[in-house]
């Protein structure tokens, strides 16, 4: 079973991956189609040609880069399936699964110190340069000159909200309620952020609330932009200026100016750290649950869930509900086993957990980047190594700029929504 048995999730087309047809649903991500097909291996890694598969499933990591319709280094998790879409693996000689250069990893178990290889003579260093140039780089030049993008549209709103998870939704709701025209952007295809995982934790707002807010924003004259990634937050005079890359029907850039901005970008998935931590089959738990809930993807037969606490437990319950054999791993993992696909985890206590899928539900890293561009102060959590945004009153981080939700540190969806509401109210009165 690779998909939940629900007619909604029945494939209606096929993409072509390295020449082989893979059933897919139109509009779902390429990673969903591949995971449902039991093929988490996509490409080979940059230096050692290790097997690479998608990790975060939510467009923050770069483990799922493929060539899509002749365009290199496209994130498979952001690429929508349609019949006949051509996907090619990258950085592999003879396909991702048999890559001849995979030998590099085997022959250099301790790694290669590229700073010093070949420095014993001028000839050797010249050979090192020549060889490295040939081996380096992911993907080949595009097949053709891309179609020109339409001129970037410049728009002005009363407020912009980056991120449509619980915090961003609540902020946008408060701003729209105050009668302001809001631009609400999220890089995913649907609003809701972590609510899309359907974790059902105590106090979680219902996912339907996301659509209600989107509707309220539109009614107040605002706009909800999905598949819209803010690439930077600059300033034009005193005013925040965001550049947003929108990938709707036709890609385009938007330049947005607004006197107030609420940053609610949430967090980035973080891989665990142990030998074999990059074997295909290891995924961010939230991305995995969204694929399960929205595309019916059941990624394998046996799942381990790494993490502790209510979220990790809810992840385990969701995967078990999808028919997978699930084990929650709270202790230390010594190493992962497997080649092109995860086979087992060896735990520090000597136990071995057989699994083809690992859902990583450990702490994520606050997406502090845009707030840092605005000048936000940071605070280090030494336990995770993560830097969180340390906002002032009502989430203020800079004149006209507020931050709310998980980018200010771990919090429940309900707490994030509350912080977002306060930031939205403070912004609308300012």
């Amino acid at each position: 079973m690779a998909r939940l048995a629900d007619p909604r999730f029945a494939p209606d087309c096929a993409i072509v991956v390295d020449g082989r047809r893979v059933p897919a649903r139109s509009g779902e991500s390429v990673t969903s189609a591949l995971l449902a097909a039991g093929r988490p291996l996509l490409s080979r890694s940059a230096k050692y040609h290790r097997p690479r598969g998608p990790f975060c499933l939510s467009s923050s990591c770069a483990s799922c880069l493929v060539r899509a319709d002749g365009v290199p280094n496209v994130k498979a998790c952001e690429t929508a399936c349609r019949d006949g879409l051509e996907i090619e693996s990258q950085n592999a000689v003879g396909g991702a699964s048999r890559d001849l250069l995979g030998a590099i990893d085997l022959f250099a178990p301790a790694g290669i110190d590229h700073h010093h290889v070949g420095t014993w003579s001028q000839l050797a260093s010249r050979v090192a340069v020549g060889t490295s140039r040939l081996l380096a780089g992911l993907g080949r030049l595009p097949d053709r000159v891309p179609e020109a993008w339409p001129a970037a549209a410049e728009d002005r709103f009363d407020a912009m909200v980056i991120g449509a998870g619980p915090a961003g939704l609540a902020a946008a709701e408060a701003l729209a309620r105050a009668g302001l025209r809001v631009y609400l952007a999220d890089r995913e295809r649907a609003p809701g952020g972590r609510l899309r995982c359907r974790l059902g934790l105590a106090g979680d707002p219902p996912l339907a609330w996301a659509s209600e807010v989107a509707e309220a924003v539109r009614r107040a004259g605002g706009e909800v932009a999905l598949r819209a990634a803010a690439i930077g937050l600059w300033r034009d005079g005193e005013e925040p200026l965001a550049a947003v890359s929108e990938r709707r029907d036709r890609p385009r850039m938007r330049l947005l100016r607004a006197p107030r901005a609420v940053l609610a970008g949430g967090t980035w998935a973080q891989p665990p750290v142990f030998p074999g931590n990059d074997i295909p089959g290891i995924h961010g738990a939230r991305g995995l649950l969204v694929a399960l809930a929205e595309d019916g993807v059941v990624p394998g037969e046996r799942a381990a869930v790494l993490g502790a606490g209510p979220e990790a437990e809810a992840v385990a319950a969701r995967l078990a509900g999808a028919g997978m054999a699930v084990e929650l791993v709270e202790g230390e993992v010594e190493r992962a086993r497997g080649g092109r696909r995860l086979a087992a985890l060896d735990l520090a206590d000597g136990r071995r957990v057989r699994c083809d899928t690992l859902a990583v539900a450990t702490p994520r890293m606050p997406a502090a980047e845009l707030a840092r561009e605005a000048g936000a102060a940071l605070e280090l959590d030494p336990a995770t190594g993560a830097f969180r945004v340390r906002p002032g009153e009502a989430g203020a981080v800079a004149p006209g700029v507020f931050a709310a939700g998980e980018l200010t540190g771990p919090c429940s969806a309900a707490e994030a929504a509350e912080a977002g509401r306060r930031a939205g109210e403070a912004a609308s009165s300012g």
């Binding site: 365009v71 930077g232 980035w268 750290v273 840092r372 561009e373």
Partner: protein, 492 residues
Amino acid sequence: MSSKALLCQCEDVTVEDVRRAVELGYRDLESVKRYTGLGTGPCQGKTCLAIATRELLRLGATPGEVAPFTVRPPLHPTPIGALASIDPSGLSIEGGVPPPPPPGTAPRAPGPLPARARVVILGGGIMGLGLAYNLCRRGDTDVVLLERGYLNSGASGRNGGGVRAQWTTPTMIRLARRSLEIGESFAAEMGINVWFRRGGYLFLAPTREQVDRIEQNARLQVENGLKTRVISPAEAAEVVPELDRSRFLAASWNPDDAVVFPWPYVWGYATRAEALGTKVLTFTRVTGFETAGRRIAAVVTDRGRIACDVVVNACGAWSRDVAALAGVKLPNVPVRHEILVTEPLKPWLGPLVSVLGSGLYFSQSLRGEIVGGMGDPDEPEGLDTRSTLRFLARFSRAISDVVPMTAGLRVMRQWAGCYDVTPDNNPILGAAGPDNFLQLSGFVGHGFMMAPAVTELMAGWMAGDPPDEIFERFTLERFARGEVSREDFIIG
């Protein structure tokens, strides 16, 4: 094999790589990032910043040492074609990000300061470190070098890595040729790869006047032993098939020019200079000088004072401010220069390509990325290293105009450094002000490529070798005497 624990999956950096870097003395996160390459791949650090920080803390780093590496737009890799769709004319040159970090957040350097040294070199860029190495090599090993940040924090770590001999005076051609020679043998001599690659330099001339200029330059360059040829657009397209031939009338082509990876040059000079006796002290800021008569008696820093016989100012864009601490007024001004890097691709671009007039230049790094920059005529002076949206738009328009295929490449990261600009675009060398206060500054964006040759000559000059003409021509007094001939070929 699953024996590797990866800390950065974009660049295949292992936990072991980070441990080794720390052992070699790269302790702060910015340095570890550069030495290992973590955080420089297509995820742009989103998947490794926290775990690298955690690992460094585990290895004993101080909170100052794990200040997160500077945030670099764009937040998501963005196609050049998308950025080129933005009209830069309405975008402010002032609105760069991020704001500089608050003072007092830099790591604290450990250990006591040496009480005295024969030579104190200010500035841990390639100029200062190259000089330290060359002094030591000649036996003058009582050297202390002071750097306010980490190695590679200034322009030496922020430039595009171009090294060309296509200059417009015999002096510059001679220096550049020597630098190329040193670059060629650097890896074997210094024991670290700098990824020196002679892919050539291709200057495109879009106007008749520029064609005249490159023809005149080519004649001089050939007289001085270079292989420079002025070639037609069709011939240029044999070198770079992706060029839009309608965008230029002719090109100046020297196949012997090169591109290197700048960071290991700096580490190589630093490591060898230290092995020979130099003390390289990072995170140490000069705050003043003690003088005795016409001489500097000691350099004062935020960590104490160092008595000395000779002081060399090699602070790049900070040279003017440092000289001012000694009461010396230099005519140098710092001017920001922005640059960016794209996702890595398999090799497709051989030379460094530059377009005369616009100031655009770009090349493909050994890792496969396109690295390119472009000056902005409206850039005000100032020590500003913030990144603007205006640059992203201007650069993207310029590069996709001349190589349309690049519209499909994604920009991963942008940053900025400061040129150290003099009134005639030539350096300032030798004594200025106090008798023992030597200048090694004013290289206007090409200090990196000139440093190997110039520091070799400077060490010789300081040791009493017969002076090279550069120490007679490029003095501070030339400005007072009005003996100024302007260098105007300062791109890339």
